[in-house]
Symmetry: C2
Subunit: 239 residues, 2 copies
């Protein structure tokens, strides 16, 4: 939660078209030169006293949860076109001051340098901060981030979220290098290629990479539709 509105019927600052007591918070993890970072905002709201927060806010009455997450993320940080997945809902009675506010957390894993940050709305500052040295955070956001990290580190092996860290079109070696970096292991190139290709999740672009001082590799895109279809018929991604 990161708006300055208090979900209180006595507060005139709360727009009538949002759901009181229910908010969204986004955890955007970004890999930036081998360091895992998370996107944080600082509020104009003086009640936060300079603390940092996850980019989030209120859900509108006529808005699906994920739509609200996308809207808030773009409004506050300028980031769009990332795939947000629901993480967990946090609702400890005393997590928010004075009022009872439950928040639905969404998360994404992206390549930090692919996005230009534009602080908007109630956010006066936005930037990437290393998950290893986080600043002081509002409410229970530190707890939410800790949980998000646990889930992220587990999920990266069982779901193709690593693809989000690559450009739209990528080579098989880029994909392999990514998993080698995340999992901190060495993989066999031919065998990795075979394993990935047999999943039928990559579509060849029929293009080659440009400007490399050696034979250019074929470019592929991740076929999200194929993944949806396969995972619904029992397929499970494993690296």
């Amino acid at each position: 939660m990161s708006t300055s509105h208090i979900p209180n019927t006595k507060s005139p600052s709360l727009p009538e078209h949002v759901i009181k007591a229910l908010s969204i918070d986004n955890l955007i993890f970004g890999l930036d030169e081998d360091e895992l970072k998370i996107l944080l905002v600082r509020q104009t709201d003086p009640m936060h006293q300079g603390k940092w927060a996850l980019p989030g806010g209120w859900i509108r009455y006529d808005e699906n949860l994920r739509d609200a997450a996308y809207r808030l993320l773009e409004e506050l940080t300028g980031i769009r076109d990332v795939y947000l997945e629901q993480l967990k809902t946090f609702g400890r009675v005393d997590r928010f001051p004075n009022e009872r506010v439950v928040t639905v957390a969404y998360y994404a894993l992206v390549s930090a340098d692919n996005f230009s940050l534009v602080a908007g709305q109630t956010a006066e500052e936005v930037n990437w901060q290393s998950v290893n040295k986080l600043p002081e955070l509002v409410y229970d956001h530190a707890e939410i981030i800790a949980h998000g990290l646990t889930v992220l580190r587990h999920q990266v092996c069982h779901q193709p979220i690593g693809f989000n860290l690559l450009p739209e079109k990528f080579t098989l070696l880029q994909l392999q290098a990514l998993y080698e970096a995340i999992l901190n292991i060495k993989l066999d190139k031919p065998n990795f290629r075979r394993k990935i290709m047999k999943m039928n999740l990559l579509s060849p672009c029929n293009e080659k990479q440009q400007g490399v001082p050696h034979r250019a590799a074929n470019l592929y895109t991740f076929d999200a539709a194929a993944y949806e279809q396969l995972s619904q018929s029992g397929f499970s991604f494993e690296i």
Copy 2:
């Protein structure tokens, strides 16, 4: 959601001490004689027109989410002492009639015959129903159950949670029947035996089952200590 209260400020039937627009629903999966079932309730509320629902209801202002889930489960079904894990939050704009209601779903996997069901509060009937032939359900509860099944079936393949449903000492065929029921598939007896035994997670009791009208099978126990040790050295459970 399964109470008769409509979260509408115009409705005098909504107690003031609950959070409007936010509810809990519990998915209690139970294994009953090798069949996977789910606990459903039927409401006294005539607006449901005899449809079945997940046991759930409103969250109180001064109540943590999981506490609300435990309270509602006991109030409506008499079940207590199960471990509830948060599944997901469902908030589609039109999932609930007339009003916007977001629901937080919790789930558990239990042995169905360990519990006696007592319909209470707004529930006029409670029972276990096979997940393979569900009755007509209120709101988006069919969707919630479908998601819960997906998560359950994924979890059960990657973590040895299924062992909790068996008695302390069990036969390999009991274990196999359990996985066949949850995954809704048929497994080959010799191959299943080999796969399980190679994990070194079962300790033979050097006892045989009693009172069966055929050759008695050997009994085994799940070696939790061995599992801890193996999983810390990189082993990952897979069925």
